[in-house]
Symmetry: C2
Subunit: 475 residues, 2 copies
């Protein structure tokens, strides 16, 4: 028997606050054409990749071109106690951008300058609207790269705000480990800097990491300084097919436990491989698959690959199929990054409800296999991909957004999965954030006391609850 759909999924907390005309007039006076109230613009800024619908859009959109623009917009909104919702490219999966309490969207997309590349120090400082692909394009000549790669071509500001990661995190860490410093506009419209370009510091509270993962609820991130890495001398990518998910996962578990510094190791289940094949016109073998990449010196890469191939063969893995040229590798990883979009297109008109649990690696097989069995039994179409080296995986339940029943069944699967992951010492969110979708899960995971502490911090820094209100936890 399924429990009824939880309150948060029908969004009863959609309670737009009044936006006084005086604020709109003041924004238009200050920003001119940089401020839009056109319905199409507002609607574009009032939705994201989540399965939430029917939330009214923000009352206005300010296209910020500088930190001063952001500070001025926040100050005006603060005077009127009107919500502020920072916007990057709109790729959130958890409803972060929805104007559930109304307010003004601040679009940082025009703040897209790479401000300073310090190649010798392996750092770069960018405006918050720079996207990850843009950054890697602009630093190509330095021989360095920025490894964090969520599926979407998200902005560095948005990635910081959600503590994003992606396929390279197993080796290079997440935004948590890779953001060195931020510039932030506070809820009062003041500009502060957190952190320095030093690689480590014990100087005061870690404001940088307080803002990384704060999902726009404490301030607007306007600049980001991140670490870069030397492009590896040698890169090899390989695919390995397995008869069962258990075999694939156990290969990963042993690889991690042995300390092999694998750069990427992604699981794609057989059904999702078929979807990707169709979408990207590929001929991948339609079995459960690990997609791997090795970085290092030529000898180091060879050594790592031999170790993993040996482990895979003990778990019934097929021979590695190598992608040796940069073009082949790009094609494979593009396919992986497009899995989400391929899956959504595989059922016309559907929306994906994404799960995002992450568990200690020793529990990965248990967590994943029980959840696959439940998903198979449910009859809901789904895709399954995973950053399995980190213990993080995503089911995407492909629901008809107009079917309350499908939505309820998918959310029930999600709840069961989260309960299972929490029972194993895991988290409800490896990389997507809480947004609107996991507010109940956060309380289950962190406990009332820890959430109360988060609320205390929020009340202290944003006493009028204007920064992206209604997200992460209840006010």
């Amino acid at each position: 028997m399924n429990a009824p759909a939880q309150a948060s999924h029908v969004l009863p907390h959609v309670q737009p606050r009044p936006v006084p005309p005086a604020l709109i007039e003041a924004l238009q006076a200050r920003f001119g054409a940089q401020c839009s109230t056109a319905l199409a613009v507002r609607e574009q800024h009032g939705r994201d990749e989540s399965a939430f619908t029917d939330v009214p859009p923000p009352a206005a959109v300010v296209f910020a071109e500088s930190t001063q623009d952001v500070a001025d917009a926040v100050k005006l909104c603060a005077q009127h106690r009107v919500p502020v919702i920072p916007f990057g490219v709109g790729s959130s999966l958890e409803g972060h951008l929805l104007a559930v309490q109304g307010g003004v969207s601040i679009d940082l997309g025009r703040m897209n300058k790479v401000l300073s590349v310090n190649a010798e120090d392996l750092t770069v400082t960018v405006q918050a609207g720079v996207t990850r692909k843009q950054l890697n394009d602009e630093i190509k000549s330095t021989g360095l790269f920025f490894p964090i790669d969520p599926g979407a071509d998200a902005t560095l500001g948005g990635m910081s705000a959600t503590r994003a990661s992606g396929t390279n995190a197993v080796r290079y860490g997440t935004m948590r480990e890779n953001v060195l410093a931020l510039e932030v506009v506070t809820a009062q419209g003041e500009v502060i800097r957190t952190g320095t370009r030093a690689k480590k510091s014990s100087a005061g509270y870690d404001l940088t990491r307080l803002f990384v993962g704060s999902e726009g609820t404490l301030g607007v991130i306007t600049e980001v300084t991140v670490r870069l890495y030397p492009l590896p001398e040698a890169v090899s990518a390989a695919i390995c097919s397995f008869p069962t998910i258990a075999d694939a996962v156990n290969t990963v578990i042993q690889t991690i436990q042995l300390g092999v510094p694998i750069a990427r190791v992604e699981l794609i289940d057989a059904g999702t491989v078929a979807i990707v094949n169709k979408y990207a016109k590929l001929q991948l073998r339609e079995q459960h698959m690990l997609l791997m990449e090795f970085h290092g010196s030529p000898a180091g890469v060879r050594e790592q690959a031999e170790m993993v191939q040996h482990i895979a063969s003990e778990h019934h893995g097929a021979d590695f199929e190598w992608a040796d040229t940069p073009e082949e590798r790009t094609r494979l990883w593009t396919a992986r990054h497009n899995a989400y979009f391929a899956a959504v297109q595989s059922r016309p008109g559907c929306r994906a409800i994404s799960t995002d649990t992450c568990v200690p690696i020793s529990r990965l097989a248990d967590c994943l296999l029980d959840s696959v069995a439940e998903a198979d039994a449910s009859g809901i179409p789904y895709f399954l991909v995973g950053h399995v080296g980190d213990g993080n995986f995503h089911f995407g339940y492909l629901i008809d957004p107009d079917s309350a029943d499908e939505r309820a069944r998918a959310e029930q699967l999600n709840r069961q999965l989260v309960a299972r992951a929490l029972g194993m010492g895991g988290t409800c969110s490896g990389e997507h954030g809480v947004g609107l979708h996991k507010m109940d899960f956060l309380v289950q995971e962190a406990g009332e006391g820890a959430v109360a502490m988060m609320r205390t911090l929020k009340h202290a820094l944003d006493p009028h609850n204007i920064m992206n209100p209604g997200k992460v936890f209840a006010w």
Copy 2:
């Protein structure tokens, strides 16, 4: 011309608050023999390795044996609005443990149990009083190790509270990167948990990293979950001598910029080598020296070492002297870890004023060489060691604690060094924390706005200012 010694160094903010007899009686009633008011015990808990003297000790010491003990002690102190100072082994270099506003010391040394080793997940959870050496002893049979190694055999709780690092941080990161989860007693005496055992998470504010580096000012850390690493298959340590500090530092800079995953790379200047030789009865060549360690597969270690040897030879480095056996390596690293104590003993009766700047690696040579010139010109004896792979180094000015003039000159050197490091995009503290000693520097580094935000957080979580008051920033 030297500026006068700054206010913070003569500690005008020593303002013990009254500790009501009723609190002492209540603590004694609750804790019996676990609560001591003996002068010797209080004095031992009222000092650390900093150069501060003449601060009255705490009014009582509670030897906590459980989280409940800590919570009860904090609750009693909170009722009476009396300060609480968490105590590990007393190895702070920055005055963290001094009872500048009076209060009660909570000694966590008896909370020294390793609670659960999850070898398959490369994690361990310990009580806060477990020391780093104890932890590595207790997990020896698992084939794993915990890399963070400040000079002292500090507790994991203290290391978390100061965001400590050490010689392995260049490869394995600091406490910032390696603490997964905490149990904390809040300023209200409530027990919360932050984080999970999952390797990454985007679920809510990063309370873990808010407490890592909070120096006891937001709560008492009672349990710590940290990452472990597989013991490398091969380890090689080598010493290389250089005619100038610049040659040594430039070797390091190039090594880091090339992305060589060196596990340790420490600078010891010629004078300090002489001190260490005398203290540890070694015969190291008394030149500027890099002490290095390489971790990996046998082939990987060979490859790394060859690359660094090649870089060193281009910078006039002597041939590597290898320490091949575990015993030789332990002897070398023990010598490095004892450099501080060796230096302090080299001038009987002295106290060391330690600097702790950390700069982006491209500026390391400039920062270090100018500071060496200043130190040489000052006539103050000093030692110089550095985690140079991170851009972090320590001068220890060995002053006569009764000489106001020496103290003033040493602090002036420190101020000049910090100003230089901040101008280069660095930090005043790489790993020791702010404590009493760097409160002014923190404001210079972070700016008034960021420090005001830290203060807002402190006021929100500890409204009566009972958690280690008078440290990090002014109330």
